[in-house]
Symmetry: D2
Subunit: 345 residues, 4 copies
């Protein structure tokens, strides 16, 4: 059993980690921390867990966490992880950080959208935890920067095609739609029920902090600078993310080329489901699961590929992928603890 | 491994059975039948199951089912089970029937709300599958009439108090609220999205077919005639059921009497969660699970007890309880395959 | 044109007042105040009003309000109105107060659920603004205590029957279900999207502050002490309230007695719609309107009447009834500005 | 008073027409027809209209309609209008047809996505009822082909920029998101509550019948062939449509060029609201109204314009625009009967 700590256990991503890890065959929830609820039983904050988890939330301390856990999940707002990570690593513990702090190779890029980076020396060795793409690096890593939810849904359908040179790298547009849980548990008018219900809108148009994260990874994989237009939208539902990507194929690319490319890239990846031609991804089919469903259409008349990916923003887009990273880092079955399928409805 | 058949696998209750059984450690999904989708892969009807279930739906035949399965779940509209059950039983198979056909001891009562009963001789030996109440009978049964969703949410909070003589049996009112999946997958204006969304209404007021089912069981347990007023309502959500029950306590009954009665009845029951005084049941906390959360308040000023129970109508109210019945019938751990907890959100 | 002020214009009830008054043929929106948004254009807070309202929200001052308006709507949290009302009245202005501050005749009762009352001397002359019941008093009033949303949905179906002696006054239970907008625009975990969506729960069971308000009015109308059990629930929808009331009829009362009683009480009331026997109230049918739809069933077997009322909590339960009060106070057509019907869906 | 007929009054678009026309100062609802509900009072089908509309739905007959109405709204599935329109016109009545039958100038185009056209001779004189663009033609028209909901949301933001030559016509992608009412009242699994709720998906990707309609109008306005990639999505909400358009600006175009172009095109158009730079369209702000809110961002880094438009699919996307067309045809105030603003929430 791996003793794990969930730091920031009472936010939505943290609580989802707790839920998944509570059913994980090889992990033991050794420590749950929460600033806001220190001293409170976790199942009083999330009564859904009553009868399953009887732990009390604790105040974070690096010492306590390192003594009681072998692997640490950090489900904190960015900036805090930078402060904690160096010492945790030094004490020989592994880390999966769900914030943006260790997703970038270049501090400059991070700093252009977040704040000054205080642990720049660790960026080189930190691995971007997009499990299907960086599997081998993850297996060897001590520190994972777990991808953002939007990047996960954008990168998984794009990377194989870009790497294979099937897409015009200057033509890419990603139109994403996210459920509300992506905004977290912090109170805000944008997550206030009546402001969201029966509402649909775009936000942070071509200005979202996940955009540079996507560009950096796409450029690395395409081995040339790639910059995409990214527009997120908010959907009146709790969970789920669907991304529709528009890209111009290079000449000679047809439907079958794309099918073959995806098959080759993903046929051994247990969490990627390639949709048959007559079915497209739907967030309902991946709700509560670590799947990323990918489908596409070729608009021949306009010579555009339309790639569609669906994930659960809290699972494959956050906590599930974090556990998948742990599985890889620990040499476990990649799917351990992640075998849920979605409800029929 | 028990070989099981799910007859009527593509309705919502059937599909939920498939989902639960696909994760059950001791069951093997040997047969899925569907009239509407015979010949179609199950995961084409429910793409959520892609990668998990590769079975093809088959046309029902008693012979086929009995040859390939040891235990049969019937998730069919009432009337059909009456026709199939006698032969299946005769061939030595066990049955959990999710319809109303075998929930009544008296054919007359069944016939007053459904239609003529064609397998009356089996009613005596059929066991009402309310697992926490009829545990021992279920263990010995060959045929289970799986309770309706409303009755489950009404009976579990009422029976211990009624049996202990704590309630005035003439005072009971149950005001239930159900998510829309309870109406099933059949098309109907009452399940049409725009008619349900942003809508709340009562229906079949004091005229629902589950009312006689409740009265029969309550009378049996109270050992006197009990008739309750029952009013169901429709909530704009997919899953979940909350029942608010009003009853006058007998004199001398106070809060502690009720707490003690519930503890005694349910402290060993893994799916009943008694809520602490400062927390009440919420459908969100049981979504996707087999739990029944029970809480109550004592309105001392008006001398009324208010009992509240929350279940997932498709799980504890249908497929989950059906699997719990199977577990009991087969001598398995009662919770096998049913250990999911609800998502934090 | 009546010059009106909406004090507290940016809360949900205030904004709904602005919406309704912007379409009122005889009212001119002279002043909008908002503490939080003073200095900001109203349509920047509520872009729905762009092109319709170009006013800027102002800081409240009694002087300003009294100089620029003839009638003042106070859409503030309770406690503030007590402080403002005496001077506004003294300056000869009429007031419709949407808070609880002037709903009670007895300060003691108010104080038992709110806080010390600082304008007790005005309680005697203040009129409870339940328009269908206190029409004549409202016409003559200078100060209206606008009813709460729950009381409106409970009192309108109950009062005619209670006054006519058709109900056992000790038997009454009201099970109410409200949309989320009733909790207002203030941020709170209980209105956070993901906590509400796909969730159904009871809250403040037999302990809601509207309960004494209901009891006081019911007792006044029944001319004897009436105390009811009241349980509110939260529905995952923005607007709408449905109340299901259970009461034992006095002997000799049958379905027709109730129909006749309602007809007599309400046949001239433009906002009460009595539902035909085969149709029951549904919040969707009153959404965005000032209607109160009332229907009922007689559970003869258990000798219980089940009364059902549906309103829009923000309209008949707040802003619409406030405007209806203004109409009555000003001798206008009672329905002026309130002629909207609900969307088909 | 104009006597109007609503043919197909019980579908969602028809019922919305009834709602709007019931509040129209210059229109009288002379005839409501419904095949399914002939002989039934309209308010029994839509109880929201109780107390407002007491008409009975009638079986359609050209004779009856032409005798009792001056202007006819056809809210029928395509194909039926082709059969009715010639005779209605011949009898000197004006028609607003909400189907696709008279939206195309070329029968061939219509036939490529619908079926053989049986009233081809009328296509030339029929006017495409996009009110802000074809105002003068509409004023003079006898037959209006009322635009589809998707085309309305795509064309209004695009046409001014395309006409002014600000966009590369080969670069246009429209990613639309629609509420469920767009699918109408006919029962279908795709509108079944549990299949839609908590679900988000694309459908008919680059294959929707509204795509040729858009291309035809865009080509006409741009005076060159324009073909766009169009992808519709389904949002779990009843009403509302948001379209996000991606297009490459011609060189020299900056933010201000676009602002100026929109201002010039739309500053006198009462239903177009141009959003200030710091606010983007949101379906909530136009719900139940005839507004089209338009905003945009310029992604300078990638040299792409992102245009966003929000409408209510049943109002500006169907019934509201139909009434706006009537207003123009009859020389009434363009906004008559259409002055509603959206609820604050």
């Amino acid at each position: 059993m791996i003793r794990v700590a969930v730091v920031g256990a009472t936010g939505y991503a943290g609580a989802e980690l707790v839920r998944i890890l509570a059913g994980h065959p090889d992990a033991e929830l050794a420590v749950l921390t929460s600033r806001q609820y220190a001293g409170v039983r976790f199942d009083r904050v999330y009564p859904a867990m009553a009868g399953k988890i009887d732990s009390v939330c604790r105040e974070y301390s690096t010492n306590m966490v390192c003594e009681e856990a072998d692997l640490v999940f950090l489900a904190l707002p960015h900036k805090l992880p930078m402060a904690y990570v160096p010492e945790i690593l030094q004490r020989g513990k592994k880390i999966v950080d769900l914030s943006a702090d260790f997703r970038f190779k270049e501090a400059r890029l991070y700093e252009s959208v977040y704040q000054p980076h205080t642990a720049e020396h660790l960026l080189e060795s930190a691995v971007y935890g997009l499990c299907e793409i960086y599997t081998d690096q993850i297996k060897a890593a001590a520190l994972i920067g777990n991808p953002g939810c939007y990047p996960t849904s954008v990168l998984l359908p794009l990377i194989p095609l870009l790497k294979a040179g099937l897409l015009n790298p200057g033509s890419i547009i990603a139109d994403s739609k996210s459920g509300v849980s992506g905004a977290g548990r912090s109170l805000s008018l944008t997550s206030h029920y009546c402001e969201v219900n029966e509402s649909f809108k775009a936000y942070k148009v071509a200005a979202h902090r996940h955009n540079p994260e996507m560009n950096a990874i796409l450029s690395r994989e395409a081995k040339m600078p790639v910059s995409i237009t990214f527009v997120p939208h908010l959907v009146p539902m709790s969970r789920g993310m669907l991304t529709t990507i528009y890209a111009t194929p290079e000449s000679g690319v047809d439907r079958q080329t794309v099918v073959d490319c995806y098959r080759q890239a993903y046929h051994l990846k247990p969490f990627i489901r390639l949709c048959p031609e007559d079915r497209l991804p739907n967030t309902l089919h991946v709700r509560g699961t670590n799947f990323c469903d990918i489908g596409f259409k070729y608009d021949e008349h306009n010579r555009r590929l339309i790639l569609i990916a669906a994930i659960d923003n809290l699972v494959k887009g956050a906590a599930g992928q974090a556990v998948q990273n742990m599985n890889l880092m620990q040499g476990l079955d990649e799917t351990a603890g992640l075998s849920d399928v979605a409800f029929p409805v």
